[in-house]
C-alpha cells in the first residue's frame, strides 16, 4: 500500500513536470517566432484565365499575431468576393512560424492584361505591402470557331419598340458538357415593366455544326419611357467537370475541389452581351382626345344585362376591352348617350395572361345605369382609343350596346330639352339632346327667405302657448275654488256686491234711507268677508270676529266707529249732520279698500 502510494506520487509529479516544460517551450518558441519579421505576399492560382473563369487571389500574412485582412488594391475590372480565411502555426527545427491566408475570388468583367496592385497591411503602426501581380484575361477559353462548351446569349424580338409596346426578351444558355449548380444573377430591366412569359424551356440546337443543350428563359418587357434603354449583361455561374489535370487543387471554394458525382469541378461565369433598346415615343400627331396610353391591338364589346327596365330600376352596362398589349393604363371607354341615365361606375377588373409569347389583357368596366326617362333609350356608341404599334397609328375601337326599353315609373316625369315631355299616351318621346332647364321668371314678390329662428315673433309663438295654458290653468283653479269654497267665493265677490250697494245708496235722495242702506251694505260686506250673516251681527260680534282675523291697529277701530256712527245716525237722524251720508259713504269705501288688503 505504501509502495503503491509512493509510486503514484512519483507518477503525478512526473506528469506535472512534463506539462510545465512543454508550456515553457511553447511560450519561448512563440515569443521567438512572433519576434520574427512580418511579411505580406500575394499570389494567384493561375496567371491566365478566360472571361468565363475566375481566379483565386490569396494574400498571406506571416509573422503577425491576429493579423487583420490586408486592404485589397483597387480592382475595377473584376467582381471580387471573399472566399474565406485560414491560419496555421508550424514548428520546424524548433522554430515556430504563423501564417494567415485570406482568399478572394476574382471574376473578370472584360478581357485584357491586368496588373493587380499591392495589398496593404497596417500592423502595429507599420505598413506592409505585397508585390504586384499580373493576370491575363482572354475572351474565351475555347477557340473562336464557335466550339465553346458553354455560352449565354440574350436578345429581344424588336429593338425599336414604341413606349408601351411589348417585346419578348430571351436568355438562352447553351451547353454541350454537363453542368451543375447553374445560377443566374437577378436580371435587371430598368425602364421596363416585366411580365414572366412562362417557365424556362429546354431544347437542343445546333450552332455551327455543334449540338447544344439549350435552356431558355423568356420575359415580356413593356418599355415605360422613351429613349435608349440598356439591358445589362446576364451573368450565369455554373460548375463544370475538370478535364484532365490542369493544376494543383487549392483549398478554397471555387478552387476546383468539389465533387458532384462527376469528379472534380471548376466554376464558370458566363456573361451575355448587354442589349440596347431604342424606345420610340408615341407620336403626338393624331393623338385622339381621351387616349389613355393603351398600346397594342384591342377590341371593344358592350352589353346590357337587361333589355327592359322600369324607370328608377337599374341595368348593368358591361364594356370589355380585350386584345394584345397592356391595358393597365386604359381608361373607361366613352359612352355617348349615357346622359339619359344616372350612371354608377364599378371598379374596373383586369386580367392578363401570356399566350404564344404575347401578353393578352382584358379589362372589364361595369356601370349601373338608372334611366331617367321612359321610352326606348339607346346608348349611341362606346369608344376606346389605343395606339396600334404595328400600324404606327392611333385607332378607335367602337361598340354599340343594345337599346334599353324603359317602362314608365310612377314618380318621375320625363323631361326634354328646356321643357317637359308631353305627347299622347303610347308614344314615347324621342330625346334629341340634354340641357339644363330654364331659369325661373316667376313674377311673385322677391322675398328674403332667410331663416331667423330667434325673431321676436317666432319666440312669441314659441312661448305664448305655454303661458296661455298657465293662464287657463289658473282660471280653472279659481273657478273650481269658487264652486267648492263658499267662504272664499263670498269673500272674493264681497267688494263687487258692496260697491253696487254703495252706488245705490248714493243715488237715494232721502238721507235716512241712504244711511240705512249704507249700514246694511257695510255690514253685509263684513259678513261676506268673514263668511257670516253680517246684517244680523251685533257690533260686539263684529268686533270679536275682526279681532280674530285682523292684527291690532287702527283699522278695526275705524270699522267699529263707522258702524257705531251709522247706528246712531239711523236712530237719531236729527242729530246727524247734513253731509253725514257723503262722509259715511267715503269712509265706507276707504275702509272696504283697506279691508280688501287684509281679509
Amino acid at each position: 500500500m505504501i509502495a503503491f502510494l509512493t509510486k503514484g506520487e512519483k507518477s503525478v509529479t512526473t506528469g506535472l513536470n512534463r506539462i510545465a516544460v512543454l508550456l515553457f517551450l511553447f511560450t519561448a518558441l512563440a515569443t521567438a517566432a512572433y519576434a520574427g519579421e512580418v511579411t505580406v505576399t500575394a499570389s494567384l492560382d493561375r496567371g491566365r484565365i478566360s472571361l468565363e473563369d475566375q481566379a483565386i487571389l490569396t494574400l498571406s500574412v506571416t509573422g503577425a499575431d491576429n493579423a487583420p485582412a490586408p486592404a485589397l488594391p483597387d480592382l475595377p475590372d473584376f467582381d471580387v468576393a471573399s472566399a474565406g480565411r485560414s491560419s496555421r502555426i508550424s514548428i520546424i527545427n524548433g522554430a515556430m512560424s504563423s501564417r494567415t491566408e485570406f482568399a478572394f475570388v476574382l471574376r473578370p468583367k472584360k478581357a485584357g492584361d491586368f496588373t493587380i496592385g499591392p495589398a496593404e497591411l497596417q500592423y502595429k503602426g507599420k505598413t506592409y505591402r505585397s508585390a504586384p501581380l499580373t493576370l491575363q484575361v482572354t475572351k474565351s477559353s475555347a477557340p473562336e470557331s464557335g466550339e465553346k462548351d458553354l455560352f449565354v446569349t440574350t436578345g429581344v424580338d424588336r429593338t425599336s419598340p414604341y413606349v408601351g409596346e411589348q417585346l419578348l426578351f430571351k436568355l438562352r444558355f447553351f451547353s454541350r458538357i454537363p453542368v451543375a449548380n447553374a445560377s443566374l444573377e437577378k436580371l435587371t430591366f430598368e425602364g421596363f415593366q416585366t411580365v414572366d412569359a412562362g417557365k424556362e424551356k429546354t431544347s437542343t440546337a445546333t450552332v455551327n455544326g455543334t449540338a447544344y443543350h439549350v435552356t431558355e428563359i423568356r420575359k415580356l418587357l413593356i418599355p415605360v419611357r422613351a429613349g435608349a434603354l440598356t439591358i445589362p449583361a446576364a451573368v450565369l455561374e455554373c460548375q463544370v467537370p475538370v478535364q484532365g489535370r490542369q493544376r494543383t487543387p487549392g483549398r478554397f471554394p471555387g478552387d476546383d475541389f468539389f465533387n458532384f458525382g462527376f469528379g472534380r469541378t471548376t466554376t464558370k461565369v458566363l456573361r451575355s452581351q448587354p442589349l440596347t433598346v431604342r424606345v420610340r415615343p408615341l407620336p403626338a400627331d393624331g393623338r385622339p382626345q381621351g387616349f389613355s396610353g393603351a398600346v397594342g391591338s384591342f377590341t371593344l364589346s358592350a352589353s346590357l344585362d337587361k333589355k327592359e327596365v322600369k324607370k328608377g330600376d337599374s341595368a348593368t352596362l358591361t364594356l370589355k376591352i380585350a386584345g394584345k398589349g397592356d391595358l393597365s393604363a386604359a381608361a373607361r371607354p366613352v359612352v355617348r348617350g349615357i346622359e339619359q341615365f344616372k350612371a354608377y361606375n364599378d371598379q374596373p377588373v383586369m386580367s392578363r395572361k401570356v399566350e404564344n409569347d404575347r401578353l393578352i389583357s382584358e379589362k372589364t368596366f361595369k356601370t349601373a345605369l338608372v334611366p331617367l326617362y321612359a321610352g326606348e333609350q339607346k346608348l349611341s356608341e362606346a369608344s376606346f382609343c389605343y395606339f396600334d404599334p404595328g400600324a404606327g397609328q392611333y385607332r378607335k375601337a367602337t361598340a354599340r350596346a343594345p337599346a334599353l326599353r324603359v317602362l314608365s315609373g310612377d314618380r318621375e316625369q320625363a323631361r326634354v330639352v328646356e321643357g317637359r315631355a308631353g305627347g299622347r299616351a303610347g308614344r314615347s318621346v324621342r330625346i334629341m339632346g340634354r340641357d339644363i332647364l330654364p331659369i325661373s321668371t316667376d313674377l311673385s314678390p322677391l322675398r328674403d327667405e332667410t331663416f331667423r329662428p330667434l325673431s321676436p315673433l317666432a319666440i312669441t309663438f314659441l312661448l305664448a302657448p305655454p303661458f296661455g295654458f298657465f293662464g287657463l290653468f289658473l282660471f280653472k283653479r279659481m273657478r273650481d275654488k269658487r264652486s267648492t269654497d263658499i267662504g272664499w267665493a263670498r269673500s272674493s265677490k264681497a267688494l263687487k256686491r258692496a260697491r253696487t250697494g254703495l252706488d245705490e245708496a248714493a243715488r237715494l235722495a232721502d238721507a235716512g234711507q241712504t244711511l240705512a242702506l249704507l249700514s246694511l251694505t257695510f255690514k253685509t260686506y263684513i259678513g261676506d268677508k268673514l263668511n257670516r250673516a253680517g246684517e244680523a251681527m251685533t257690533p260686539d260680534e263684529i268686533r270679536e270676529a275682526l279681532r280674530t282675523r285682523m292684527s291690532e291697529g287702527p283699522l278695526p277701530e275705524r270699522i267699529m266707529n263707522l258702524l257705531r256712527d251709522l247706528e246712531m245716525s239711523q236712530f237719531a237722524p236729527r242729530a246727524a249732520e247734513a253731509d253725514a251720508p257723503d262722509r259715511f259713504l267715503r269712509e265706507a269705501r276707504e275702509l272696504m279698500h283697506e279691508m280688501e288688503k287684509v281679509l
Binding site: 346622359e339 339644363i436 331659369i439 314678390p445 322675398r447 315673433l457 302657448p465 280653472k476
Partner: protein, 257 residues
C-alpha cells in the same frame, strides 16, 4: 271671437311676406332680378351673373335667385360653382323639380364620384328631412306647439279620451319635428356642405402647400367642410377621405333656409 282675432294677428304677421328688401338696401332687387333674367335669356350670361350676384350681395337670400345664378354659372362652364348655387337654392326650394333636374345634370359633368356617407335609412324614415326647408320645419314645429298647448288647455275643461289622444299626438309630432329641425341645424353648422370650385384641388395632409397630397378632387366634387383655419378648410369626401384644401378652391353652402 275677439280673442281669436287677437291670436290671428301675430300668426298673419309671421306668415306674411317679409318687408320689401329695397326699403332696407336702397336698391330694388326685384327690378334687378328682371334685368338679370332678361340678360340670361338674351345669352348675356356674364351680365346676368353680375346682376344675380349683386342681388345676393344686397342681403337677399332667395331660392329663385340662387337657382338662376346656378343656371348662369353652368352656362359659363363653372360647373362647381353652379352646383354650389343649386345646393344653396335647394335650401330654399327643396321640392322644385327643375332645380333637381338641373342639379342632376350638372352633377353628371363632375369627374369625381364621391359616395354618399351614412344616414341613408334614417333619411328614408324622416322623409321630410330633405323635402322641407329649415324654416318650414320650424314653422311646422311652431304650429304643432300651438296646437299641443291648445289641446292641453282644452283638456283642463273637457275630459274626453279624444282630447288626451290629441295631446299625445301633438306632443309626439312636436318632438319629432323639433328634433328634426334641431338635428339639421346642428348638422349643417357642424359639417357644411361644400363644393370644389377649382378645376383641380389637391387635398393635403396639412395646412401647408408642401404637405403631402392625399388625393385630388376636381371641379364640382361635393364634400363636407368640417373646419376652417386660416386659408385652409378641412374637408371630408365620402367615407374616410379627409384633408385640407385651400379656401379659395371650395365653395361653401350656407346653412339655414
Amino acid at each position: 271671437m275677439k280673442k281669436s282675432i287677437i291670436l290671428m294677428v301675430p300668426l298673419l304677421l309671421l306668415f306674411s311676406p317679409a318687408s320689401p328688401v329695397h326699403a332696407r338696401t336702397g336698391a330694388d332687387p326685384a327690378a334687378l332680378l328682371v334685368k338679370a333674367n332678361e340678360a340670361y335669356l338674351q345669352g348675356d350670361y356674364a351680365a346676368a351673373e353680375i346682376l344675380y350676384r349683386y342681388i345676393l350681395d344686397q342681403g337677399v337670400r332667395n331660392g329663385r335667385v340662387y337657382y338662376n345664378l346656378g343656371n348662369t354659372l353652368f352656362r359659363r362652364g363653372k360647373t362647381g360653382e353652379a352646383i354650389q348655387r343649386y345646393l344653396q337654392a335647394r335650401r330654399f326650394m327643396p321640392r322644385n323639380e327643375d332645380l333637381e333636374a338641373n342639379l342632376g345634370y350638372a352633377r353628371r359633368k363632375v369627374e369625381d364620384k364621391i359616395e354618399a356617407s351614412g344616414a341613408g335609412v334614417l333619411r328614408d324614415i324622416v322623409f321630410w328631412y330633405d323635402r322641407l326647408t329649415l324654416k318650414e320645419m320650424f314653422l311646422a314645429f311652431l304650429a304643432i306647439n300651438v296646437l299641443f298647448w291648445l289641446c292641453l288647455g282644452l283638456r283642463l275643461f273637457v275630459r274626453v279620451p279624444a282630447v288626451n289622444r290629441l295631446v299625445l299626438v301633438f306632443l309626439a309630432a312636436g318632438l319629432v319635428m323639433g328634433g328634426t329641425a334641431a338635428a339639421r341645424l346642428v348638422t349643417e353648422s357642424r359639417e357644411r356642405p361644400a363644393v370644389i370650385i377649382a378645376q383641380e384641388a389637391p387635398v393635403r395632409s396639412g395646412m401647408d402647400p408642401e404637405s403631402a397630397t392625399l388625393f385630388i378632387l376636381h371641379d364640382g366634387a361635393e364634400v363636407r367642410a368640417e373646419k376652417e383655419s386660416g386659408d385652409w378648410i378641412l374637408i371630408s369626401a365620402g367615407t374616410g377621405k379627409k384633408g385640407w384644401v385651400r379656401k379659395e378652391q371650395v365653395g361653401l353652402v350656407d346653412p339655414g333656409a
